[in-house]
Amino acid sequence: MKKISISDIFLAFLYSGLILLGGGYIILPILQTELVEKRKWITDEELADYYAVSQSLPGLIAINISIIVGYKLRGKRGAIAGVCGITFFAFWAIVMLASIIANYTSNRYVEGAFWGIEIAVVILIISAIREMWGKAIKDKGSLILFFIALGIMLATNISPAYIIISSILTGILWKLTERSKGKC
């Protein structure tokens, strides 16, 4: 089999990044088509494993999976090629749009459009919360943690980073306690 080149990896993720529109979790079907079916670089099972790890790691899922696939194919350089590919259009599209939008925000109609869009964004976030809720709230413990975290955020202006760190520690201690109780 022909060795996969660094530029092949870059181009595969460049294209995946271009068609990754609208956010959400559509990265999986895109990579399934591009990497498994079209290029046959990895199998469905491998992709599923990489996706599971990408979700367990912090940061953006699409970024994590591009790094892992790139690394598996061609090591560190492959990982960098993958991540550069998937971020390329995301970066340059915004650089161009940001400067255009800045020139039009004083226009009445643009202002009107954004007035409506700002309401739409709240709806998008609520939809994302509902999707997360289904995966996150599985038992009484996770429900309690949800309300504790929300309560702390509303009552203080502590950085979310501290909440995340405390949450990791709480989760580990909680499950360790549960495990030791189960053994008794």
Binding site: L20, G23, L60, I61, A98, I119, I164, I168
Partner: protein, 185 residues
């Protein structure tokens, strides 16, 4: 002007996002909202606009917003630094974990941490939703029309969920029509 101090803050804040945000693109929003409260790089209202623009542009939403925030804070170079800082933790962790894969995701400690992280990330995002609901709807200068539009959209999203692009295009058209008919502004 972009000073050395601003730059170190940008690296610190976006590296932190890459290291501590969970749950994909929207998981970065609590951190980005926190930035809008602590720095003068962009306002919460501008953050809302960034989310919308990120939704209609190609690529991961989290990268779009990081780039946009960098553009607001300084310019193209700042945007590049912000995006790179956000990716860096993933590059280090991704490569480190690539060798373990299933061992990593099945690990007891990873599983336990994620069990707590999922509801926590959900709570952090709920906090952002509450803040933006207050800002974009409750304190809207056209609260009546805004409230009606919000209720209609929420009903649509609950009964017959549509693509994110649909909500953005629909509301922008409504917004333009309302300006044209003189109902808002």
């Amino acid at each position: 002007m972009l000073t050395f101090w601003t730059l170190t803050h940008i690296v610190k804040e976006f590296f932190q996002i890459g290291l501590f945000s969970f749950g994909g693109g929207y998981g970065t929003l609590p951190f980005l909202y926190d930035i809008s409260q602590n720095y003068s790089w962009y306002t919460p209202q501008e953050l809302t606009q960034m989310i919308a623009v990120a939704t209609i542009t190609p690529g991961p939403v989290g990268i779009n917003v990081a780039t946009y925030a960098g553009m607001k804070a300084g310019g193209v170079l700042t945007a590049l630094i912000a995006t790179t800082s956000e990716i860096l933790p993933a590059l280090i962790l991704g490569i480190a974990v690539s060798k373990l894969l299933k061992e990593f995701s099945d690990n007891f400690y990873v599983q336990s941490a994620l069990w707590a992280l999922k509801p926590t990330s959900c709570a952090l995002l709920t906090y952002v939703a509450i803040k933006l609901f207050h800002q974009n709807i409750l304190t809207n200068q056209n609260i009546l029309i805004g409230g009606i539009l919000f209720t209609v959209l929420l009903t649509v999203s609950l009964l017959k969920p549509k693509d994110p692009l649909w909500y953005i295009s629909f509301t922008s058209v409504i917004g333009i029509i309302l300006v044209k008919t003189g109902l808002i502004f």
